[in-house]
Amino acid sequence: MHRGLFKSIPICETFRRRNQALAVLDAIVSPDWTYRYYSFDSHWPNSLGMGSMRDGSGNYWYEVSKNNDCALVLCDIEIAKSENYNVLSCLDNINDSFRLLLSDPAFQISEATQLLFSSNSEEWLACEEKYTERYEFLLRHIIHWHAEDYVHWAAEYYESDLNIEWVEKIYRFESLTREIASAINPNIDLDPLADEVKTIGYPSSL
């Protein structure tokens, strides 16, 4: 494993919370799941939850954690096309708890171009030493935790002008209220959103 290459990625618990916040924001801004980037399923079996980012063009990551172990499965589509990667050999060098985490076929381990592992809130260890900056780009919203970054990105991607004041409340992990949800997206249907937020595991009073 390679140490120190992904120091900027937050530790497991922080990662998970940020992922949940981003998933809630996406669920509010984009009721149609197809076009969302961020998702989180707090009911993922045998885990503390599974979060993901999918950009719809082949880039993705999955984060899954259990107890003190956290695994991150990443795929950069251009690296995948180049076939210049090998993460499967990493699986021989990880402990059984990680192996169990990644055994779910939903993660498509064979197609991943990078695997990261973290135990006991220590820094992430990477299988591949190459293309570090590319993965940090895929994780940019998790790493750079600034509400204005999401607002700026949502203005481009969703073409939605979000009020940063309300977005910051989600970034601070404040409980989601009808007021916040409606302020972020006046057209949001709150009932389906409530179900989604429950799945995400984000605190809510909807």
Binding site: S39, D41, N86
Partner: protein, 362 residues
Amino acid sequence: MALAPKETKSKTKEVKPANAPKTPSKETKVVGGGQGKTGGNQPRIPGGRPPAGLKDGQYVVPARPQGTGQGKTKPVVPQAVKLPGGTVPKMIGPPVPQANTKGPQAGPLPGPAGVGGLRPALPGVGGVPLGRPGVALPAGAGSAAASGGAAELIGLALKWSPVGLLLGLTGDSQRATPSAMPAHQPGPKSNVTSMPKNTYPQGFGVNYTPRTPKVNAQPSGMPVTTLPKFGVQPINVTTLPPNRFDLMGMRPGIASGPYANIPDGKTVAAGKDFTAAQKRKIYEENMSRNGGVLRDDVTGEVLVWPTKSRSGVTPPTNEAQVDHIFPRSPLDPQAEPGSNSFSNAQVRSRANNRTDTNKWPK
């Protein structure tokens, strides 16, 4: 823990022009040598057998026939040329720019003289190495000049244009010598000379002083080759990145994919992701073209909508994705990032997006 590097597999497929001969043929002519069908002795194609009467390391360069019109030709007097080292080099001619020689295009390949080999009598047209260096092509002015789609098209257009016909570029007829071209100076009837690599024997075709093509490095790393002028307009061809496209009139970074008909908004820029609204339009357009079914734009495979991950379920390989034809973030730092223009989009299955080269149309 050290990780064993994975053997890197190249997905590069050998690009071979459709009209390229599978094996060098003894019938292949020296393009521009002026011999046409009446060329008498045929030159030795690199890698082929020497004509009768010549030792290995020698081959016959047919002299250009007298007369430049379309009428009868006078007998040709062959010239034998001994090549250095007693072997026929695979490629003779001015150095060809190597800036874009990744993959199978790289390196000289044996081909008919006049392409990778000897320069033809009509430099600037038939002998201009417009395409990738070293790709074997059959004799024939325009097509010999080009080694890829667009360059080949340009060659064909020249070939059959009035100018091309005037210049006798069809390869079947006698070459007309435009007034702008230097008059033919026939060489000795039989002259065995030592011909250094990358030079031309005097008396062959026209008196041609080889020049090194001027290569202007582009930001994307793609060379633009400007060739000597010989009575025709110079042709500039910008080559495309390897493994990205066949030449289809496209320029690097500017694709004309299946959704180029959809007008772009103001937010289009290099290195950007497609927006949610763009993806929606692309999928809608795809389905409207396919009777309400989502299909891979290259293979035609029926696709399914992306869905949430479910534990224990492998994501379907035919899940739809919107791919950047020119990658948004290419691995090669010298390559120009593709934009989020509709013209740079194509719908692919998840499996095809990561395994196929991006080709549109198929």
